[in-house]
C-alpha cells in the first residue's frame, strides 16, 4: 500500500473532525482496555507469564538462524515447502508463483499483517487473481478499498451504517430492500457470501501467529474460524509469515498464547487456535494437498542486536494501540501505513524509511502506557526516542524545532544559567497571567493555544520550590 505518513498532520486533523471515528474510538477506549484489565486480574501469574514470554523470544532472537533451519527441516519432512524471501517483492513473487502453478483464479485469505506489509492483494489482482479477505472486518475494508485501522480490529473505525451502505453497494443480485439494520443482518449476509468463496477458492492464504520449530507447525489464531476454512478447503495452503514468528516448542507457544488473547481482546483465549503441519496425509479425507510457508525478512534480520532489536518480540496483540492516548484520539488511518499506534510508530520508519514516516515517532507524549501493557515488555518509548535522535542526527528535523532544541540543549548543559532563565520566565509569566490564571495566546506556542488555554505558572519553578521545601522539612 502507498503510504500517506508524510501528511500525518493533515491526516490527524481530518480524523479529529470525523464524527463516526470519534464514536468508534470512544467505544474502543471503553472496551478492550477494560476487558484486558479484568482478564489480567483473573490470572495471578500474568506478570510472570510476561517475563516468561519475553525470555522465550529473547532465546529465539539469539538463535534465530538455528530455529528457522530446524523449522524448515520439519516442514520439509512433512511434505511442505519453505520459501525464504528477502523483501516484499520476493515474497509477492513467491506467492504469485504458487498461485499460478495451482492455476488459481480465486484465493481466500485470512487476516495477515504481513500480507498488508507486502501488499499481496494488489500484486495478485494485478496478475489476474482475485483475493478475497475472509475475516469480517478485513472483508468490509477490502470492499471499501481501505487499509486496516487496527492490528486486530481492522474495521474498528466504521459505523454500522457505513457497513450497511458498503454491502448495498457491493453485493449485487440481492433484493435492494432487504433488511440490513442490525449487525446480525450484516453478519448473515457476509457469512453466506463468504461460505461460497471458501468452497470455491483454489488457494488459501493465511498469516501465522507463530511458527513452531520443534514440529514444523504454523499456529494461527482467530475468533471467527475463517483461517480454518481458508487453510482446510482449498487445494493449496500458503502461509505468509515474518521470520521472527518462530518459537521453539509447543509449550513455548502456549506461554505466549496465554498472554496474547488476554492482552488483545481480554479473552482468556481466542476461540480457535490451530496448529497446521504440512499437507494432507495418507488416509485424510480433507486438508490441502500442498503446504507452503513464505518466510519474509524485509529488514528484520538487520534489526537484530541493534536499537530496534526488542521490537522483534512483538506478537501484534494491539494492546499498545488500545491504551495509547494518541491512537485513541486519531485512530489508525492517520498513521498513513499498515501498522498504527505505538508499534506502528516504531516499525514504520524502519520499513518505509524515516523520511516517509518521520512524523510518527513524534506523535507520542511518551506517557509510557504502551510499554506498561505490552505483554512482551517492549520498551516502545525508548525506541521512539531512538528515531527522534536519528532524525536530528540526519538533519530531518525542521529548522525551527532544531533551533529550539539547540537552544534548550545549550541551557540544559549549564544548570546555573538554566535555573536563572527559567526562574525569570516563570516569574514573568506568573505576573502576566495572574489575573486570568491562563493565557489564550502565546508566541511560539500557537499549536498549543489554538485549542486550549495555557495555564499560567504560579510564579516559581519546580526546582526553586523544591529547594525551599527541602529546607522546611521536619
Amino acid at each position: 500500500m502507498e503510504s500517506t505518513s508524510r501528511t500525518f498532520e493533515d491526516n490527524a486533523r481530518k480524523a479529529l473532525i470525523d464524527a463516526d471515528l470519534r464514536r468508534a474510538l470512544t467505544k474502543l477506549g471503553h472496551g478492550f482496555p477494560v476487558k484486558r484489565r479484568m482478564a489480567v486480574e483473573r490470572l495471578p501469574e500474568f506478570e510472570g507469564l510476561r517475563d516468561a514470554a519475553r525470555a522465550i523470544k529473547e532465546d529465539v532472537l539469539e538463535n534465530l538462524d538455528f530455529y528457522l533451519e530446524r523449522f524448515e527441516e520439519r516442514v520439509v519432512e512433512q511434505g511442505g515447502q519453505v520459501h525464504w524471501c528477502v523483501d516484499a517483492a520476493e515474497a509477492n513473487q513467491a506467492v504469485l508463483a504458487i498461485c499460478q502453478e495451482a492455476g488459481a483464479r480465486t484465493v481466500t485469505k485470512s487476516k495477515s499483517m504481513i500480507g498488508e506489509e507486502i501488499a499481496i492483494n494488489e500484486h495478485l489482482e494485478a496478475n489476474g487473481i482475485t483475493p478475497v479477505e475472509t475475516d469480517l472486518g478485513e472483508y468490509i475494508i477490502q470492499l471499501r478499498g481501505e487499509p486496516p485501522s487496527h492490528i486486530i480490529a481492522p474495521a474498528i473505525h466504521l459505523s454500522m451504517d457505513q457497513v450497511t451502505e458498503t454491502f448495498r453497494q457491493c453485493h449485487d443480485g440481492l433484493a435492494a430492500d432487504r433488511e440490513l439494520s442490525e449487525p446480525r443482518d450484516l453478519l448473515e449476509e457476509a457469512r453466506a457470501i463468504l461460505r461460497q468463496k471458501f468452497l470455491a477458492a483454489d488457494v488459501g492464504i493465511t498469516g501465522a501467529n507463530m511458527l513452531i520449530a520443534e514440529t514444523g507447525s504454523v499456529a494461527v489464531v482467530t475468533n471467527e474460524g475463517n483461517a480454518d476454512l481458508t487453510m482446510t478447503l482449498p487445494r493449496v495452503h500458503v502461509v505468509i509469515a515474518s521470520l521472527e514468528k518462530v518459537v521453539p516448542t509447543l509449550e513455548d507457544a502456549t506461554t505466549i498464547l496465554r498472554v496474547l488473547a488476554r492482552s488483545a481482546t481480554g479473552q482468556e483465549t481466542s476461540v480457535y487456535t490451530t496448529f497446521a503441519s504440512g499437507p494432507r496425509r495418507p488416509g485424510d479425507s480433507d486438508g490441502p494437498e500442498e503446504f507452503h510457508v513464505v518466510l519474509l525478512d524485509n529488514g528484520r534480520g538487520a534489526m537484530l542486536g541493534g536499537d530496534f532489536h526488542d521490537v522483534l518480540r512483538c506478537i501484534r496483540c494491539g494492546a499498545c494501540l488500545n491504551h495509547c492516548p494518541v491512537y485513541g484520539t486519531i485512530g489508525g488511518h492517520a498513521y498513513g501505513w499498515v501498522y498504527s499506534g505505538p508499534i506502528g510508530a516504531v516499525l514504520s520508519p524502519g520499513l518505509i524509511g524515516l523520511e516517509e514516516a518521520g512524523h510518527l515517532p513524534n506523535a507520542s507524549t511518551l506517557c509510557g502506557k504502551c510499554e506498561e501493557v505490552c505483554p512482551m515488555r517492549i520498551p516502545l518509548p525508548k525506541m521512539l526516542r531512538h528515531w527522534r535522535t536519528r532524525q536530528f542526527d540526519r538533519d530531518l528535523v525542521p529548522p525551527a524545532s532544531r533551533a529550539a532544541l539547540k537552544g534548550w540543549a545549550f541551557l540544559a548543559k549549564r544548570p546555573a544559567l538554566y535555573r536563572a532563565a527559567t526562574g525569570l520566565a516563570m516569574r514573568l509569566l506568573g505576573a502576566l497571567g495572574r489575573r486570568r490564571g491562563a493565557f489564550r495566546r502565546m508566541p511560539l506556542a500557537g499549536g498549543w493555544t489554538a485549542a486550549r488555554d495555557l495555564p499560567a505558572p504560579e510564579g516559581a519553578t519546580f526546582m526553586a520550590q523544591w529547594s525551599r521545601r527541602k529546607g522546611a522539612r521536619p
Binding site: 475468533n223 482446510t232 521453539p248 509449550e251 513455548d252 483465549t269 476461540v271
Partner: protein, 232 residues
C-alpha cells in the same frame, strides 16, 4: 548465485556477530527442542477429579458453550436429541467415523438420522470426538486423521463434541503431553497430527461496531457432551 535462504541466514548471523552456531553453542537450543518442557504454568488448572471437570464446565460455559454430562455413552443420543429439539434444529447428524464414538447407540433415538463421514454441503449438525479437554480455559483439543476430518469441526452450523471425563486435562501442558504420548512411535517431532484444533466456544466476531455476535464463519453453537468414565 546466493539464494534467499543464504542471504537471510547470513544477515541474521552478521547482526548477531557470529557464524553458524558451533555444535557446542547449538547444544542449548537443541536441548530445548528435544526435551520440550513447560514454562510457568498457571495454578488455575492444577485441580484433580471432580474439581477439574467442574472447572472445565464452568470455563466452557463462560464462552457460550453448552455442556451436558451423562453417566454412559448410551445416554448421548437422548441428550443430543433434546438439545436439537430445544434449539429447533434439524435432526439429521453427520458423525465423524471416530472409534471413540462407536459406543454411542444412535439407533435407540428414533428421531435422529445419523450418517457417518466428513461433511458434505448442507450438513447442519456435526458430531465429533475430541482428544482432550483443557479445564484451564474450557477448551477442546481435536486432531485430524482418517477418522476425524477437520472440516466437520467448522462447516456445520452446530458442532457437538463428545468427550469422556478421563480425557479432561487441567492445563495445556498436560494436553500436549497426552498428544505426544499418543504419537510417540514416530520419529522426533513427528507426533504432530496434520491439524490440531484448540476450540474454545462457538465462532464469533465483534468486527461491526464491537458488537459481539456468535456464528461468524464457524459453528453458531457448540454442545459438549461429557461421559463419566471415572465412576461416581
Amino acid at each position: 548465485m546466493t539464494t534467499g535462504r543464504e542471504t537471510i541466514l547470513g544477515n541474521i548471523r552478521k547482526s548477531l556477530n557470529r557464524g553458524p552456531l558451533s555444535a557446542e553453542r547449538a547444544a542449548g537450543p537443541e536441548h530445548r527442542l528435544k526435551a520440550a518442557k513447560p514454562n510457568l504454568v498457571p495454578a488455575r488448572g492444577a485441580v484433580e477429579g471432580a474439581e477439574r471437570v467442574a472447572l472445565f464446565i464452568a470455563e466452557a460455559e463462560k464462552v457460550d458453550t453448552t455442556v451436558s454430562r451423562v453417566a454412559a455413552a448410551a445416554e448421548v443420543p437422548g441428550v443430543v436429541a433434546a438439545y436439537l429439539a430445544a434449539h429447533d434444529l434439524p435432526t439429521a447428524l453427520k458423525a465423524a467415523p471416530d472409534p471413540a464414538l462407536a459406543d454411542i447407540p444412535w439407533s435407540r433415538q428414533s428421531t435422529l438420522a445419523v450418517r457417518q463421514g466428513g461433511p458434505e454441503g448442507g450438513d447442519e449438525v456435526g458430531v465429533t470426538g475430541a482428544l482432550a479437554g483443557i479445564a484451564e480455559t474450557g477448551t477442546l483439543m481435536l486432531v485430524s486423521g482418517p477418522h476425524s476430518p477437520t472440516t466437520l469441526n467448522f462447516l456445520p452450523d452446530t458442532h457437538i463434541a463428545v468427550l469422556t471425563t478421563g480425557a479432561i486435562d487441567g492445563t495445556y501442558e498436560e494436553a500436549w503431553a497426552r498428544l505426544r504420548a499418543a504419537g510417540s512411535e514416530g520419529p522426533e517431532g513427528a507426533f504432530m497430527p496434520r491439524t490440531v484444533n484448540l476450540i474454545t466456544g462457538p465462532s464469533r466476531t465483534a468486527d461491526i461496531e464491537q458488537t459481539l455476535l456468535l456464528g461468524a464463519h464457524g459453528p453458531r453453537r457448540l454442545l459438549i457432551v461429557i461421559i463419566d468414565d471415572q465412576g461416581p
